[in-house]
Subunit: 111 residues, 2 copies
């Protein structure tokens, strides 16, 4: 009897990638891990070419997955602060290894 009706993750990478795949999530987590607390507008400025819609969408998913915490101040104009949860912080080793790789291999493409 096989588990036909379940998603069968053949490996942990597949499992993880289904949580963080996409161009933006890890980048957002990375900035939050550096700055600790960031407002919506700050996050937007730190990313290239991300649209308003995409960013709110990604933030919502990250929050739903329990990776980030959202604190809204009830005021006009609104102010919202984002920060990593402890689960979000558990990505730090991944973020570091990717950042390290990027730094190393990006240099070779610079003029």
């Amino acid at each position: 009897m096989d588990n036909k009706n379940e998603v069968n993750y053949s490996c942990p990478i597949e499992y993880t990638m289904n949580l963080i795949a996409g161009k933006w999530k890890l980048v957002i987590l990375w900035h939050l891990s550096q700055e600790k607390v960031m407002r919506y507008g700050e996050i937007k400025k730190s990313l290239n070419n991300i649209t308003h819609k995409m960013l709110s969408q990604q933030l919502k998913e990250l929050e739903a997955d329990g990776f980030i915490h959202r604190k809204a101040y009830s005021q006009i104009p609104p102010k919202v602060e984002y920060s990593l949860t402890s689960l979000g912080e558990s990505f730090f080793p991944i973020l570091e290894s990717i950042s390290k790789w990027g730094k190393h291999h990006f240099k070779e493409n610079e003029k």
Copy 2:
């Protein structure tokens, strides 16, 4: 004078993610790092729900980016072996940290 006409990678993560984003690439690299040499059919079997088209596409991109090496035997039926290049092997720290994260956090979702 700002570099307006260039893609401005605000951080190394963004740079790297544009190379390996997507659900499949890291999974493929991971299996190759474990098995060293795999035939097309072996890779396909090791992945869940990937279609023929998607796999050839991903393999082609990985080869174009210099992450994997492709060795074709001129025979009928054909035989093709894929393996990591040294650049591909440089992803190992990333793969390891993701695998480690997945193993740890996947357990908590098992029954």
